[in-house]
């Protein structure tokens, strides 16, 4: 694919030029002191392309925390009384600038859930299709980044339309898809770089970045253990003890996709909306009868790890449902560490690779 050189002095200009045809989304400080997440950029606003990653992942771009599915009226005098109407939403092209490679890889995992052969979630799919993902390679991975061991990595191209590599004075842009090429054109970034030299430079930076990754997970043995053996493993009480069952890990996670559906009325009108939900919450699985099949916090913590590291693996045979961004490790208020849990699961029980004696 094509390599393009973007001089940094042309960066903001290009972004601004692309606004004619694209809505821009990127990491910016919005509420609070943190670089909290990805937001639609205001007219003169440019994305923060600095070193720090966002506290929340970029999943909210295609999967907002709260999203209206339908509007309704319960006014008996209206011909539309009790009929659900999907409100018009803006699905015009959006460019997601500065998304991290692991977040883009995560969006492909979400796609497995929301775009299936049997059903398509139109809200997710429409938003996804509107997006062009212009990713930024990670030069200085954090100590909690274990993305290389999950099939992603600091320079991973999965799910991206363009991969930007920061070369100090300029970006090298590796154009990966037609969508990516269209965006580059809209931004007016058309200066071809020497493809071979650029590829070498990127490869060198990629190796350097990967060498800086200090953490990893192994899940090679998990696939061959039975669900029930892992489910009944003796370490779950220890893993879950400190868990306070808040939703932090699931909300900051780029791959957690669970949601709730709620109706909310004000007077005679209202909305039915989707809202992020969390397997950490007792209400998530509570039956109307009062029975809760995951009634203890150990069961709920186990559900999260089993879903990510075992059920997903078994169901799709395509790795774990984790891209190794490290956000949950950094944000967990009580320091529950998925790397440790993955190791416990991988090591649990008889080693399937052990020689028979």
């Amino acid at each position: 694919m094509e390599m393009i050189k973007i001089d940094k002095k042309d960066w903001n200009k290009g972004l601004d030029r692309s606004r004619k045809t694209y809505r821009l989304v990127g990491p910016v400080k919005r509420a609070g002191e943190d670089l909290a997440g990805f937001y639609e950029l205001a007219d003169k606003e440019h994305p923060d392309m600095g070193a720090a990653d966002t506290v929340l992942s970029a999943k909210s771009v295609v999967y907002p925390q709260t999203e209206v599915m339908f509007r309704y009226t319960t006014d008996k005098n209206s011909p539309d009384c009790n009929r659900l109407k999907r409100p018009a939403a803006d699905y015009s092209p959006r460019a997601v600038i500065g998304i991290r490679p692991y977040d883009a890889a995560a969006i492909l995992m979400l796609k497995k859930n929301f775009d299936t052969p049997d059903y398509r979630d139109p809200y997710w799919c429409d938003a996804y299709e509107a997006c062009t993902f212009v990713g930024l390679a990670v030069d200085a991975p954090s100590s909690t980044d274990f993305s290389t061991s999950t099939g992603s990595g600091p320079f991973s191209e999965k799910g991206l339309d363009v991969l930007l590599v920061d070369m100090a004075g300029h970006y090298l842009a590796k154009v990966l898809t037609d969508k990516g090429a269209a965006y580059m054109k809209a931004a007016g970034w058309q200066r071809a770089a020497d493809a071979k030299a650029a590829a070498q430079q990127i490869e060198k930076k990629k190796k350097a970045a990967e060498a800086l990754i200090v953490s990893s997970v192994s899940f090679d043995k998990i696939a061959r253990k039975s669900i029930l053996d892992l489910y009944k493993a003796d370490f779950w009480d220890d893993v879950a003890f400190s868990c306070i069952n808040c939703g932090t890990c699931t909300y900051v996670c780029p791959t957690c996709w669970c949601f709730d559906i709620q109706d909310e009325s004000k007077g005679k009108t209202g909305v039915r909306y989707k809202n992020w939900d969390s397997c950490m919450y007792p209400l998530f699985s509570l039956h109307g009868s009062g029975h809760n099949p995951r009634g203890t916090k150990t069961m709920r913590a186990r559900q999260r790890f089993m879903h990510k590291l075992k059920y997903f693996l078994d169901k799709y045979d395509d790795g774990i449902m984790c891209v190794g961004c490290g956000r949950c490790v950094r944000s967990c208020p009580v320091n529950i560490d998925i790397r440790r849990v993955c190791e416990l699961m991988n090591r649990y029980g008889p080693d399937p690779d052990a020689c028979a004696v």
């Binding site: 919005r30 609070g32 070193a51 220890d238 003890f241 400190s242 900051v252 909310e264 320091n335």
Partner: protein, 315 residues
């Protein structure tokens, strides 16, 4: 800190060896800088896991509610006040507990330290009141007092108020601290300014409920925000619902909050929701001379009546 850790291990090991408790709740070394993880041990061999340093900010009283075993628990000043509150509120019995008291000199504010540097903080070590912070290309040492959580810097109850055995001699309590400077700042605002300040404060909230769930006081079987029949609060990111959650939770903690800081510490997006609980704490102090959790035997002002209770709010 090393001495504290050794003493905690010794006490825990003895408790479990003599079967005086079924488990001991304490901290083990965390996997990221400035974090330790609450854990339980139930055999003497595991006592070596336990640690104590300035990264034990989580309030362990949170792990006691409704437990039925005999429990050893490591408790700093604020933890012990919340244990006392639990005892008053019948969430645990005094006779179930063996409290290993830890005199506390404050906890490091992880968020503050991380914000001080552009690069990632990779290691934080402390010795003799000095805290050294290291990253890939920086190293800087601080007096610990510079890095304390705000609640710790104005804490006047560093020593446990109830304990069965102390892990060290009591420390001097801080004298002459101004506990409520931040509250007065907000009190001085006019209603519009205050509204704006609260709106700004709560804007980043993602409703993960880490603040609520880290709080030892928030043990309601079903929190009002989770109640579906009837449903009091919407579940979306509507700012009205977000505010309702924070304001009501604060009121529910009135006269019970010890300002342990667990809520603020737990928040993944850096909201200081303590401004709400602290205002109520200040009111309770000024109106009733009350500080929560100083004794397991005295009931809090909001569930007792005294003829001399202030009543000028009745117009």
């Amino acid at each position: 800190m090393l001495a504290y850790t050794d003493r905690i291990k010794e006490i825990a090991r003895a408790l479990l060896t003599d079967c005086r408790v079924e488990l001991v709740i304490g901290f083990r070394k965390g996997t990221v800088p400035m974090m330790n993880e609450p854990c339980f041990i139930n055999s003497p061999d595991e006592a070596d896991q336990l640690v104590w340093d300035s990264n034990c900010g989580i309030n362990l009283a949170n792990y006691l509610a409704n437990r039925t075993e005999k429990i050893g628990i490591v408790a700093k000043g604020c933890d012990s006040r919340n244990i006392a509150t639990h005892i008053i509120e019948n969430k645990i019995g005094r006779d179930q507990l063996f409290i290993i008291g830890v005199p506390c000199q404050g906890m490091i504010d992880r968020r503050k330290v991380n914000a001080m540097f552009d690069g990632e903080v990779r290691e934080v070590v402390e010795s003799d009141g000095l805290v050294t912070v290291r990253g890939a290309d920086f190293e800087k040492s601080f007096e610990k007092s510079e890095l304390l959580q705000q609640n710790c810097s104005v804490c006047t109850h560093r020593n446990p108020v109830i304990f069965d055995e102390m892990a060290a001699d009591p420390v001097d309590e801080q004298q002459g601290v101004d506990r409520y400077a931040d509250v007065r700042e907000i009190e001085a605002m006019d209603p519009q300014q205050r509204w704006d300040a609260f709106e700004k404060l709560l804007a980043p909230c993602i409703r993960c409920y880490a603040c609520r769930n880290a709080c030892p006081l928030c043990y309601c079987p079903t929190c009002f925000v989770d109640e579906a029949r009837p449903q009091w609060v919407g579940k979306s990111q509507n700012p009205v619902d977000v505010r309702t959650f924070h304001f009501l939770r604060a009121y529910h903690c009135a006269g019970r909050c010890t300002d342990c800081g667990a809520c603020e510490r737990a928040c993944p997006v850096g909201i200081n929701m303590r401004v709400f609980t602290k205002k109520l704490e200040k009111d309770c102090f000024e109106s009733f001379g009350w500080e929560a959790g100083l004794s397991p035997d005295v009931r809090p002002p909001l569930d007792t009546y005294r003829p001399e209770d202030p009543d000028d709010f009745i117009k």
